[in-house]
């Protein structure tokens, strides 16, 4: 009964999404306020219906209703309840439902905030979001409903993939999808701008907070994903340039470019068409990411073709959404009046132009490496793969200059900056960056690779310049700096922390595989690991062999680690559960390989200096985004005169000087 209610709610949601799309657009074309006013209630109704569907599926999981095929495929009675709930988004059908649920949350937020927007803009934005929702709802209802029954119902489920049975599953996909779907709002604003033909500072002021919010969630999602892979996969790595990771990283790169180009469009009224194009691209890549990961095309183009209905639908939907918006763009974008002033190289807009180019080219490089193997395979050009060396070779030279630019961001003024000003403000951070950047690795991990130390200096440079900016601006001020300024500085500090993390972990990290019998030890970067033996442990839905390791440094015990080898009862699948001693300066990571002759095991040991900094940087950047979002400049009502906004900007500029 409950699954049928969920299915029915999905059908009602489709109806409401159609109304949300068609009626406001008609109202816009005919200039009818009553039709425009339909958008917000329809969005609220759609949210309620998707909520019902989502809760229904959640209940089916909670109650172990294995007559629902999706539940039977992804759950088990022994699975703990929180994993049963999170299993909603453990596979294709349910993650589509999560996607639509989050889209309706964003629509609800737009509807709630619509009092700050002119009615035709708010309705148009909701109509575009409704049309995306229509596409996803039809896809779900016609090709991949999570509510399909299976008769006779199996007595027991086939269990959630053990790889997914980790707290990461509870947080990572919802955050990532919040980001993906959030770019739909920016996309909807871009389409609205193309329809209404207006890209002015009011438009950017409405678009910016939504874009920053989506970007912050995506940053959190990607960071959590990296952290999860490190914890769960047992390979001690934090990024593998896997197509699944790239799928989430490309929208992030373009979204980052979008945030920066929106700033230029707001302050200087230039880059209008470019900003709109970036908004479309960011969402296109989000869609691509969703489909790449969930359609099976990455597993194989042949797996994709085994369900032709899904494949054809996805391609058709993608073509309509992206082709349609690019067509609209081609027709309407030339009408945006272009700025006449040239962009000076030594100005904030010049700097942000460079930022955009680096980010977009980096995203294009990642796209090439991700899609080329798929294309080559489907065109019968042979099976190839593109390995991490390609991505590192392309990505690092393109992003290192970007970090240098981050340092100049705080100092550059709009329009034109004198070179002397740059020199006078940047020498102190430069010296601090060099001293700290060289001293920090020397004091914590010892002398080593030059490239890693250069990276560390680069990271310190980003942090030092951001701090210098804050300190200089705070001096002689009684009131707090505006939150968007603090948010930017925090995000840039996050970039610096992240760069220090990746430089030092790649330059100084170590790993080795070793055979250990009980009582034997091995040493790694000054730490001695002693294997005491294994014991047998029974978990809720698995049995495990747990290894017992004692770690000593300079003869003193500093940690005990218990890596395990689990065997899941339902699937018979084995899983390596590594154990990690966490620290600010280094992680010690032990995972069990396989039992060898006698009581010996093959053991893999990793030393990962500064790896926590990678995720700390990601979280700092996301918090910076959320802080900027909370700035009251984004919460002005539509009826407030635009003049006041200009006045505030002047105050900001006065604060800059």
């Amino acid at each position: 009964m409950i699954p049928e209610i969920g299915h029915f709610a999905l059908i009602l949601a489709l109806g409401l999404a159609l109304i949300q799309t068609v009626v406001p657009l008609y109202g816009f074309a005919r200039n009818r306020a009553d039709c425009l006013a339909v958008a917000a209630p329809a969005a609220i109704g759609q949210f309620a219906m998707l909520g019902v569907a989502f809760v229904s599926l959640g209940f089916a999981f909670y109650a172990n209703d294995f007559s629902v095929a999706y539940v039977a495929a992804n759950s088990h009675t022994q699975l703990p309840w929180f994993y049963r709930i999170a299993a909603i988004w453990g596979a294709h059908e349910g993650s589509l439902l999560l996607w639509m649920m989050l889209l309706s949350c964003w629509s609800l937020a737009v509807a709630a905030a619509s009092r700050t927007l002119p009615r035709e803009v708010a309705s148009c934005v909701l109509a575009v979001m409704g049309s995306v929702s229509v596409g996803f709802l039809m896809f779900t209802l016609f090709t991949s409903s999570p509510f399909t029954r299976e008769f006779p119902a199996p007595g027991e489920g086939r269990d959630l993939n053990p790889l997914l049975q980790d707290p990461g599953l509870v947080f990572h996909p919802p955050m990532l999808y919040m980001g993906y779907v959030g770019f739909c709002v920016a996309f909807a604003f871009a389409i609205t701008a193309l329809i209404t033909g207006r890209v002015d500072s009011a438009w950017t002021r409405w678009t910016r907070p939504w874009t920053i919010a989506a970007w912050a969630f995506l940053t959190l999602g990607v960071t959590l994903g990296s952290w999860w892979a490190y914890n769960e996969l047992g390979w001690g790595g934090w990024w593998f340039w896997d197509p699944v990771e790239n799928a989430s990283f490309m929208p992030w790169l373009v979204g980052t470019a979008l945030i920066h180009s929106l700033a230029v469009t707001e302050k200087r009224g230039i880059f209008k068409s470019w900003t709109v194009l970036l908004a479309i691209t960011a969402f296109a890549l989000s869609l691509l990411g969703t489909f790449l990961v969930r359609s099976g095309v990455l597993i194989s183009v042949h797996a994709f073709a085994t369900d032709p209905a899904r494949g054809v639908y996805i391609l058709a939907f993608f073509t309509i959404v992206i082709g349609g918006s690019l067509l609209l763009y081609a027709i309407r974008a030339p009408k945006f009046e272009a700025g006449t002033e040239p962009v000076a190289a030594l100005s904030r807009e010049g700097l942000l132009l460079l930022n955009n180019i680096f980010l977009v080219v980096a995203a294009a490089g990642v796209l090439l490496g991700t899609l080329y193997p798929i294309l080559a395979d489907s065109l019968g050009m042979g099976r190839i793969s593109v390995g991490p060396p390609y991505f590192n070779k392309v990505f690092i030279p393109l992003t290192a200059p970007l970090v240098v630019l981050v340092g100049a961001a705080a100092v550059m003024a709009w329009k034109r900056t004198r070179a002397e000003l740059l020199r006078s403000r940047l020498w102190a951070p430069l010296i601090i960056a060099i001293v700290v950047g060289v001293a920090m690795p020397l004091l914590t991990v010892g002398p080593g690779a030059l490239a890693a130390i250069a990276g560390c200096v680069l990271g310190c440079w980003a942090i030092a310049t951001a701090l210098e900016d804050i300190v200089r601006r705070c001096r002689g001020r009684r009131i707090m700096l505006p939150r968007h300024v603090l948010g930017m500085a925090l995000a840039h500090i996050g970039v610096g922390v992240f760069v220090i993390g990746i430089s030092l972990v790649s330059g100084f990290g170590g790993e080795h595989d070793v055979r250990l019998a009980p009582g034997e030890s091995t040493s790694m970067a000054g730490h001695e690991f002693t294997f005491m033996g294994t014991r047998h442990v029974e978990g809720p839905n698995f049995v495990a062999e747990v290894g017992d390791f004692v770690v000593r440094k300079d003869g003193e015990q500093i940690a005990e680690l218990y890596p395990a080898k689990r065997r899941y009862n339902a699937s018979g699948q084995t899983m390596t559960e590594s154990d990690i001693d966490i620290g600010i300066w280094r992680d010690l990571y032990v995972s069990l390989g396989e039992p060898l002759s006698g009581d010996a095991w093959s053991v893999r040991i990793y030393y990962r200096p500064f790896i926590r900094w990678i995720w700390a940087g990601g979280f700092l950047a996301a918090i910076g985004g959320l802080l900027a979002l909370s700035d009251k400049r984004y919460r002005r009502r539509a009826d407030a005169p635009a003049r006041r906004a200009v006045a505030t900007d002047r105050n900001d500029k006065a604060a800059h000087a």
Binding site: I299, A345, G369, Y390, D513, R515, E594
Partner: protein
């Protein structure tokens, strides 16, 4: 000036990407291609096939494992030093990265087994087809797919 600089920079980026790309493409070969001598030695590539039953030999005290990897027609000896993935076992399809040495043994530096029980790497699945395109995998493994 700015535009000229951008142009040069973009050209450099494209050149960088394309050289890196052509240097880092890895081809896929299956055991019968190697047995036929079509694959050059000391060049990194990807291999896929089934781990032959009874071939896994981990007798040494070091972590070197020897096994043979087979498709329908031929098999190739493989050696790997390190920790094998959780899903590695005899009779299972795997993919490995590495190069052939002069003696004709494939020296793997990375071994990947499928991500879960129900999924077989498409590379391996295709490698396990004879000339008529019929799979020569054991029947119960075909049923799993």
């Amino acid at each position: 000036m700015l535009v000229g600089g951008l142009f040069v920079g973009l050209a450099a980026a494209v050149a960088l990407a394309l050289t890196a790309f052509s240097e880092n493409i890895l081809y896929f070969h299956q055991p019968s291609e190697i047995a036929a001598g079509e694959v050059p030695v000391n060049t990194r590539f990807r291999i896929g096939g089934l781990v032959e039953d009874g071939s896994v030999d981990r007798s040494g005290d070091d972590l070197v494992v020897h096994f043979t990897l087979a498709d329908c027609a031929a098999s190739v000896p493989v050696q790997f030093k390190g920790t094998l993935p959780d899903l590695f076992r005899e009779g299972q399809g795997i993919v490995a990265y590495g190069a052939l040495d002069e003696s004709g043994e494939f020296v793997a530096d990375e071994v990947l087994a499928k991500h879960d029980e129900n999924y077989m790497s498409p590379d391996v699945a295709d490698a396990m087809k004879d000339e008529q395109g019929n799979s020569c995998m054991p029947a119960e493994m075909q049923a799993q797919r």
